[in-house]
């Protein structure tokens, strides 16, 4: 059984149905990409998993249905770290306090040690550890968002457009590190991305969303080779 199993997922904003009942899976230790145009429902899918939108259907994590559970409970119980669109930085506290907040639900004594673990992936954050997080550059804030997610010691990371607003070179570096985190720590990842090439590069499987439905799914390399997909989403 997959680590994360979505069946018949529907999501609603008020009266409007944004997702129309599709299935999706994330295997343990793997990276899966979720692609699609604006408004296809990528962000809504991630937000449903975290209990941040009204959803119907089942979302099973480690064998337990989380639909209807509060966000706080899902995060604490299933170690799901959501790196939201726009990074969700706590701008008025320091970099290190942001990391501390990422470990809020943990009660063990290794939190201090984990700062170093994050700094090992993102040395820039160490230089900025006492700086107010709002003064960090966009790239640094994105690293901080990933670092904050790591502080949970997550089983699953949900990444919403990690490349948003970043220079290409920084985006590439970030994806390299995401791949490294996945290999070294065995964290499963669901990555929503506009930059389909980059996402497919590090992913094993991929889903293509179109207006609230899954239009296509399969191994990432197959998706990448599909002519239709290339024309519509990869631009060559």
């Amino acid at each position: 059984m997959a680590l994360l199993e979505i069946k018949g997922l529907k999501a609603y904003y008020g009266q409007i149905e944004a997702l129309h009942g599709f299935d999706m899976e994330l295997e343990e230790g793997e990276i899966t990409a979720v692609l699609g145009a604006n408004g296809a429902g990528k962000t809504t899918t991630l937000r449903s998993i975290c209990g941040m939108v009204k959803a119907a259907g089942t979302i099973t994590v480690e064998g337990e249905n989380v639909v209807g559970m509060s966000t706080e409970a899902i995060v604490a119980r299933h170690k799901i770290a959501h790196v939201p669109e726009g990074r969700g930085t706590f701008v008025r506290v320091s970099t290190e306090e942001n990391l501390r907040l990422g470990a809020f639900t943990r009660r063990d004594r290794e939190i201090e040690k984990d700062y170093e673990r994050v700094y090992h992936y993102f040395p820039r954050l160490k230089e900025r550890r006492n700086q107010q997080a709002g003064t960090l550059s966009g790239g640094e804030q994105q690293m901080l968002a990933v670092g904050r997610a790591l502080m949970l010691r997550p089983k699953i990371m949900l990444l919403d457009e990690p490349s948003f607003g970043l220079a290409p070179i920084i985006t590439e570096e970030l994806f390299k590190i995401l791949g490294q985190i996945n290999r070294e720590e065995g964290v499963s990842m669901l990555v929503v991305e506009q930059n389909a090439n980059l996402a497919l590069d590090i992913s094993k499987n991929a889903y293509l969303l179109e207006t609230g439905n899954v239009a296509m799914t399969g191994p990432a390399d197959k998706i990448m080779d599909d002519e239709q997909v290339r024309k519509s989403y990869l631009g060559y």
Binding site: E72, V75, P84, G88, F90, V91, R100, L101, F104, T105
Partner: protein, 292 residues
Amino acid sequence: MDLFIEQTVSGLASGAIYACLALAVVMIYQAIDHFNFAQGEMAMFSTYIAWYLMDDAGLGLPFWVAFFVCIIVSFIGGAAIERIVFAPISDAPVLSHIIVFIALFSMFNSLAGFMFDFTPKQFTTPFGHEALIEGVISWHRAGMVGVTLIMLLLIYAFFRYTPIGLAMRAAAAAPESARLVGIRVGFMLALGWGLAAAVGSVAGMLIAPITFLTPDMMLGTLLYGFAGAVVGGLTSPLGAVIGGFMVGILENWMGTFVVGSQLKLTVALVLIIVVLLVKPAGLLGRVVVKRV
């Protein structure tokens, strides 16, 4: 010159009270973006609880026991008000909040009169009213400043150095992100209201020995507290505290040397208007840009 020093020091003492109320108002403002108009009445009601705990007609407890019991009761009461009254309307428009604040205001005001009647009551001070420095400051006023400073330091340390304090700041500033790291935002908001009510109760218990205890005792004080909060910046707790002290001193200077004591309260209102016109963010506040 003597008069100037006396007025300055006594301004510092009343400024301590305004600082407490300004801080309480700012703590709630940061969490829900609204001014709690009932903050003063909540503090007044807390003070009546302390009076009941202390008075011989009530429980007859020693001052400091009553002081701390009152803080705890106020904390629980403040948290309960958030959970029962404000949590259900958190998404409601501004006007709904204002109406509820006004309702709370008149409820506490009438309830205090109904339960404890409207005649002014004496409220004891553990410090005594004798002069500490002749012609400058009494023991009680010095005690007001001392207690306030200790409390402010404790609150600062709580928010700065404890995980719960950090989580409360995070929950107030970015509720969605806070939820995503597993913080129970509603719980933190209730804690914030509890803390604000506790801070207010201290202000009430400190000023009651000077003003006497009546259901209307906090009316003027709250306006000065608002002025302090606006002067310091609604987004900065430290600013609110500094603003509170500044308003206390300014009030006394203006009252003694410029406009006379009848127009003292007007000074607070003029100050609010001037600050909002000239520097809306206040002294230490920051301009917040919001996406709509």
